[in-house]
Symmetry: C2
Subunit: 211 residues, 2 copies
DNA sequence: GCACTTGTTGTACGAACGTCCAACAAGCAA
DNA sequence: TTGCTTGTTGGACGTTCGTACAACAAGTGC
């Protein structure tokens, strides 16, 4: 992105102002931030990179958010919301059979819209921020606790004994995260369908033995 | 870390030069880099932060490595080596029973020296670099392929059918990674011992059904 | 057309970045 | 003690960072 330093600022005729509603602008900045986090990682994510990705001027980040950290936090909320909605939708379509519901909930993570390498990469970037940013850590804790609680409920509906619920939920959550990680970082190793099969196998083991 | 800008440079009497052998100095910079990556994440890891952590002057990073990226790559190699050695040691102590060996190999990830929150946090930082840095991606691919290959061998020794080896190895690797992630990011949720129990349960499922 | 509201641009600014290197200094041998 | 080798310091330099904001401009109502 070289800037020809001898080139004068754009004339009035050359500047292109494109107005957008505040919510729409905020949303497009959030999406741009997610994409930059995914592609460049945390180290390559800057106000200028996000603005360039969004096709706007850098000042807009400061105008619409209390700074880049606030934008990243808003991006976390957006991505998390997208994942939650996909899980909700999977459950809504799963019917009432407990095993089908459990499987739908877990395997939704390996289908669109979740199993998108870009979304997974953004998610990995968020993981890497948890320890250094208390705000992201809070968001992370809430989201994970909610996911695990829900998973426990679904597992309980499948007859997993109460004494084993917690560990089963932790294990399934870990398996999903680990498969996400490798789906994203080593896409040549296996794909989303295989990940779903692996997860199904694990669920079958857990629910068949009540282990 | 405010620097009193009116304070003159240290006089000759105040400067403290401490010499170290090149290898020792390189190693201490690598360890400092690992600690900073763990604590501050990628975004907070800079030449100055690492040098401060190592108790030396920033110029030493450039003296001993071809820049901060080379130092990070060297840090990856060091941490990976530390993990591999721990796994080797666990296997060496496990005896000849295939099931004991498999369990030792997998649960070693949940014992010292591996299950150290700082090491895990450094590892998460490396994950977040994989997509944006080809060199780290190469290191990552090699390390993961080697781990999975080894795991497949151990699983095969336990009688897991050849047709199921690959997926079993992928699943166990994912489970380990996911448990690492949460051990590090949500230490209040569960501990290393419980992680080991969860992993043992998963291994028992895989090896008992030959699934 | 004008005035006002409100969204946009792009740059100034101080701070921090990675890299480079001259000056310094520890340690050793003669 | 001197000279040499080699490790260390810390600051210069150009670049990039996040933030702030003056100037600009789109869009609306009168």
């Amino acid at each position: 992105m070289p800037q020809v330093s001898t080139k004068p600022a754009l004339t009035r005729a050359e500047r292109a102002y494109t107005r957008a509603e505040p919510d729409a602008r905020r949303h497009s900045l959030i999406l741009a931030c997610a994409r930059v986090l995914a592609r460049e990682g945390v180290g390559g994510t800057s106000v200028r990179a996000i603005a360039l990705e969004a096709g706007v001027s850098p000042g807009l980040v400061g105008h619409y958010f209390a700074g880049i950290d606030a934008l990243v936090a808003a991006t976390y909320a957006e991505v998390e919301s997208r994942v939650s909605e996909a899980l909700d939708a999977a459950l809504a379509q799963a019917g009432s059979d407990p095993h089908a519901r459990l499987e739908a909930f877990v395997t939704a993570s390996f289908r669109a819209p979740i199993a998108d390498p870009e979304l997974l990469a953004t998610w990995i970037a968020f993981w890497s921020l948890v320890r250094a940013r208390p705000g992201i850590a809070r968001q992370h804790d809430e989201q994970y606790a909610a996911f695990r609680l829900r998973l426990e409920q679904l597992l309980a509906d499948c007859g997993v004994p109460a004494a084993r619920l917690r560990r089963a939920a932790i294990g399934v959550t870990a398996l999903v995260d680990g498969l996400w990680l490798e789906l994203c970082l080593s896409p040549q190793a296996f794909g989303a369908q295989e990940a779903a099969e692996i997860a199904r196998g694990a669920l079958a083991g857990i629910t068949s033995t009540g282990r």
